[in-house]
């Protein structure tokens, strides 16, 4: 497979291997009975997931469907509000160098759940992640999905996320991309029901020769549906990023609204930053907006902080952390928030 | 007996199937200044928009007679031609259309007479001077980048150019400083002088220091609960809307 935008000549998937470690760390503290929710038949899910939700593409998603070695299937019953987040912790090592996770979430009407998935490595060897997460949020349900990726600099990371949201349902995606050598990540949300809502907040940190291809799509079908994409990132060293953000208004999505913002801070001359924002519209009574900016850190801001005794690196770190904070703060775990902040600090200050 | 300019009877209005006005009766004679006061959400702006004919406001019952003629099914431009004017609380910004170009088109439509370029320029300039507006406003895009106060002044400018029989001022005093309120009030008085009528809708009574209203009405929860003279405004000042509400819920 060839991947032009991130300059990848060829990509072949490795032979699938098992992942034998425990990754559901905090299930005992939630009131979910896994036996009850595992019942969901997956073929049913294929029925409702429309063709336009491709994720990273068939090569990636069918690999997961065929070889998945981990993941959860949750069926949240009507009216159930799961208070504590479900946390999945993947820590790859030399014995378990592959995570192929397939996650399925079905939310019955008026239910709520938060899922945090954390992908890390504990080895300097090559690790591989290819995941697929599918969400069906029915009427008036609320789902928060937080994905944090911090694999080592040799690893490959691919992730497809698809959601369909019914009337007045709500999905909040948070994506934090810190590691990996190559990342391909896609989040597609179909706002199917009236007054459904989708939000996506993401941050990324490109350093070394990291390559990221980030694709976010909001497909409005229901009336009065609402979407918001906000992406902030930093590129340094020889890193490269592609951002593809699409707001798609299908016929019938009257009085819907979509907003998309992409902001990137460029710190070194050798970085590459591509943006392909798209607005596609078949309905007149909608409002779609996109804004983007790219450039260095504001020199006046930097000067101000340095005049107060901060080194240039410290000042930059402070400004970048301030930009990232609203997204990091959405993570419902202090421990995770701290570890992300420490990681960002280490990368910007110590390198 | 003077012929009534506006005669509203048992007016009921829905927004998206929710009843906001629940039976309003109001009569305004030529030359009178009326004030409608009331708390937010009581239906004041709904009344203003309904009189101007905003399509979102659905009249379910009652009548709106203007100059003896039913206007409730007329489109907003037809009402404007009959002499109804609404000073908007939040005037719209229209990029690419200058104040002058817009007002000349509007004046032509309302008066039914082609406005010649030079005489119209003169008229506009003199009206702007009265309102202490700078010349450059004439060539700026309509309301675009105007401050809150500038937008309100621009509304009053339009009023004095169009010379309506009935001017409805929806919260025109909000966003204006003391000097601007005085200037605006002077202009309203100048226009009203004679047989033109004014309906002031306000939350506070800042504008009332300069206008001499003939009647004050209190609009609570979709109904006019009390009508009287200027003393009513003073009562509100003293007891607040909550006090007045309490008084009426007791009765």
């Amino acid at each position: 497979m060839k991947w032009n935008r991130i300059g990848l000549e060829s990509l072949t998937f490795p032979e699938p291997k098992k992942y034998t470690k425990e990754y559901l760390s905090n299930l005992e503290i939630t009131n979910i009975n896994l036996d009850e929710i595992n019942e969901l038949s997956t073929t049913k899910l294929e029925d409702f997931m429309p063709k336009e939700a491709k994720g990273l593409g068939k090569d990636f998603t069918s690999y997961v469907e065929e070889y998945y070695n981990s993941g959860i299937s949750l069926h949240v019953p009507r009216n159930m509000k799961v208070e504590k987040p479900i946390i999945l912790d993947f820590l790859m090592d030399d014995e378990n160098p592959m995570v192929i996770d397939r996650n399925i979430l079905v939310l019955e009407p008026n239910s709520e759940i938060t899922v945090v998935i954390n992908y890390k490595t504990k080895t300097q060897g090559h690790c591989f992640h290819n995941g697929l997460t599918k969400v069906y949020a029915k009427e008036n349900s609320l789902v928060n999905i937080i994905k944090i990726q911090n694999l080592n600099d040799k690893s490959h990371n691919f992730d497809s996320n698809l959601a369909i949201i019914e009337g007045e349902g709500n999905i909040n995606w948070v994506s934090i991309e810190l590691g990996g050598n190559i990342t391909g990540s896609n989040f597609t949300t179909i706002l199917n029901g009236d007054a459904s809502q989708g939000n996506l907040s993401s941050i990324y940190l490109g350093d070394g020769d990291r390559k990221l291809d980030l694709g976010y799509s909001m497909i409005h079908k229901g009336r009065k549906s609402n979407s918001n994409i906000e992406t902030k990132g930093v590129l340094m060293d020889d890193s490269k990023k592609v951002f593809r953000g699409n707001l798609i208004f299908k016929k019938g999505a009257r009085t819907s609204k979509g907003v998309e913002g992409e902001y990137v801070i460029l710190l070194d001359p050798a970085v590459k930053s591509d943006s392909i924002p798209g607005l596609f519209c078949e309905e007149d009574d909608v409002s779609g907006e996109h804004a983007a900016s790219a450039g260095q850190i504001d020199k006046d801001k930097l000067f101000y902080l340095m005049s107060r005794g901060l080194s240039e690196r410290e000042a930059k770190k402070l400004i970048i952390q301030a930009a990232f904070r609203p997204v990091v703060d959405k993570i419902p775990s202090e421990e995770l928030r701290n570890s992300i902040n420490t990681e960002i600090e280490r990368r910007i200050i110590n390198e | 007996m003077k012929k009534k300019l506006l005669d509203i009877k048992n007016l009921k209005v829905n927004i998206e199937d929710q009843e906001i006005l629940k039976g309003i009766d109001l009569e305004i004679n030529p030359g009178e200044i009326h004030v409608i006061m009331g708390p937010n959400g009581g239906g004041k702006s709904t009344l203003a928009y309904t009189l101007m004919g905003h399509p979102r406001y659905e009249v379910t019952e009652g009548q709106i007679l203007f100059d003896g003629e039913e206007i409730k099914d007329l489109s907003p431009d037809k009402r404007a031609k009959k002499g109804v004017f609404l000073s908007f609380q939040y005037p719209e910004e229209i990029p690419g259309v200058t104040v002058e170009e817009f007002l000349r088109t509007s004046k032509t439509a309302v008066s039914g007479e082609q406005q010649k370029l030079i005489p119209f320029k003169k008229l506009l300039k003199s009206k702007m001077e009265e309102l202490e507006m700078k010349d450059e406003y004439a060539s700026r895009y309509l309301n675009l980048g105007f401050s809150g106060g500038e937008k309100k002044k621009n509304e009053i400018l339009q009023m004095s150019i169009l010379e309506p029989k009935l001017s409805i001022l929806d919260e025109t005093d909000s966003g204006l400083d003391v000097d601007a309120i005085r200037i605006v009030a002077e202009d309203v008085n100048r226009l009203q002088n004679g047989n033109r009528s004014v309906l002031v809708i306000t939350h506070y009574n800042k504008l009332l220091d300069y206008l001499k209203p003939d009647f004050v009405h209190i609009l609570l929860d979709g109904k006019i609960v009390k009508s009287g003279g200027l003393e009513l405004a003073e009562e509100i000042d003293k007891y607040g809307y909550e006090g007045i509400k309490a008084k009426f819920s007791r009765n």
Partner: protein, 468 residues
């Protein structure tokens, strides 16, 4: 006021649709063969290198696949297109000498009048050949050359050879290759060092014959410290068969020079407009594109600015109006290839009655092109829900010391704005037209007056009773 009034009467879409009887002295068969290319070249008495160039281009054309992105052009059968039609006249420099029917066409389009009133020079192309060319004497005296491409190839062969299809090589894409093989007509402008042409030059391209292709080539060279405003107008009557326009524009803007290139394109709605325009700008030079796309069935048009000299600048101001049966895929490309270069893009589109407007753009900042600045703004207005509107601006940044901002908006005329204007006595239709005119105002104010008036009238005609 009088003059403006006359213009309003003149503007009636109908004038574009008046067909002349097809009168020609020579035309090629349909389709493309080596023989046809050699015939065209021979008919034009061209030097051997040009004949060879045409044949090489044909080879490239045959080897390239049809583009697979953008518009659907499967309906376009190039083999059905007549590549070359010579009108029944030689080129003239007095309108009296131009044959009556052709002269009448241009009279209806207002060209001779515009020449008398506001232009420094005029060229008029009818089907494949330029039938009229004239320029004011004082410009000739300053060394300005403004003529048709055929004359240029004969009289200024060295210059043409140096620049012709160097900026848009036939290898660029399939239709550039087609152009290289069958090009005919177009304008050649040469402005010597230090000369400011302060009144615009205008070329008008008119296609009369059905099932034909127009492949005019425009080559403009501005030497250092010079200035020019060039206007291009295009129209054709409507036929049931498809016509093809695959012109090519090459603009060379040298140090400290400034070129404004304005286009009002109003092809009929059976036209495939696959045009390639490109400018290369040297140190501190400026290219300004003003582009109005109203006609054609399908357009794919992305004028490109290559800012190769330090401090070079480009400005693109474009309006696209897609109505029933039209797919207009337009935009602009900017390549920042040198430090301290700046660009602005201001694009507006309107779609109505099932029309499809697509903004497609590219902004590229090359490695080493530091201190570049660019702002892009795209706004789209949808007038009904039968229509479509898409925006896809691609941004590629290869260094960090830059300042890039982009904004895009899609939506319709707000009900609140319509209500506001109606509350001032303005009818609903008039209110909408006023808002649309306001929407395109940033573009109209960049156009010469008569075009601005024409544009406003087009909006009136296009909008009349058709939106809601």
């Amino acid at each position: 006021m009088e003059k403006k009034k006359t213009y309003i009467e003149d503007i009636n879409r109908g004038i574009y649709d008046i067909k002349d009887e097809v009168n020609y002295s020579y035309k090629t068969d349909k389709g493309l063969t080596t023989e046809i290319i050699i015939e065209i070249s021979k008919e034009k008495n061209e030097p051997q290198w040009m004949t060879d160039f045409r044949l090489k281009s044909l080879e490239i054309y045959n080897s390239k696949p049809m583009p697979e992105w953008g518009a659907d052009i499967t309906d376009l059968n190039v083999d059905e297109i007549i590549a070359y039609i010579r009108p029944n006249t030689e080129m003239k420099n007095k309108w009296e000498d131009v044959p009556e029917d052709i002269k009448n066409t241009f009279e209806r389009l207002g060209l001779p009048q515009a020449e008398r009133e506001s232009l420094a020079g005029v060229g008029a192309q009818y089907d494949s050949e330029v039938v009229y060319h004239n320029i004011r004497q004082e410009l000739v005296d300053q060394g300005v050359i403004y003529t048709d491409m055929e004359t240029a190839l004969r009289d200024y062969e060295d210059i043409v050879k140096e620049y012709f299809m160097k900026l848009v090589p036939p290898t660029d894409h399939k239709f550039a290759a087609l152009h290289g093989a069958v090009w005919s007509g177009g304008s050649f402008v040469y402005v010597p060092k230090g000369v400011n042409v302060d009144i615009p030059l205008q070329s008008y391209f008119r296609m009369n014959a059905p099932g034909a292709g127009q492949f005019e080539h425009t080559l403009i060279i501005l030497e250092e410290n010079s200035m020019l405003h060039f206007i291009e107008g295009c129209s054709a009557p409507k036929y049931k068969v498809n016509n093809l326009h695959a012109g090519c524009v090459e603009l060379f803007v040298k140090e400290n020079s400034r070129l404004r290139y304005s286009t009002i394109e109003n092809w009929s709605r059976n036209m495939y407009n696959l045009n390639t325009k490109r400018a290369v700008v040297d140190k501190n030079g400026v290219i300004e594109w003003v582009s109005g796309s109203f006609g054609s069935k399908v357009s794919m048009l992305y004028p490109m600015s290559i800012l190769r000299g330090q401090g070079a600048r480009s400005e693109f101001t474009g309006i696209t109006f897609a109505s029933s049966g039209q797919y207009l895929d337009t935009g602009t490309k900017v390549i920042h290839a040198a430090p301290y270069t700046r660009s602005t893009v201001n694009s507006k589109s309107i779609s109505k009655d099932g029309g499809h407007a697509f903004y497609r753009g590219l902004l590229k900042v090359a490695k080493g092109a530091h201190h570049c600045k660019s702002t892009i703004s795209c706004e789209s207005l949808m007038l009904d829900n039968k229509s479509k509107s898409d925006t896809l601006p691609i941004i590629e940044l290869d260094n960090d010391n830059i300042d890039i901002g982009h904004e895009a908006k899609i939506g319709r005329i707000s009900d609140e704005s319509i209500f506001y204007l109606m509350s001032r006595g303005i009818s609903e239709e008039e209110a909408k037209a006023m808002i649309v005119r306001g929407f395109v105002e940033p573009i109209t104010k960049e156009l010469p007056l008569e075009y601005a008036v024409e544009l406003n009238n087009l909006i009136n005609i296009e909008l009349e009773g058709s939106i809601g």
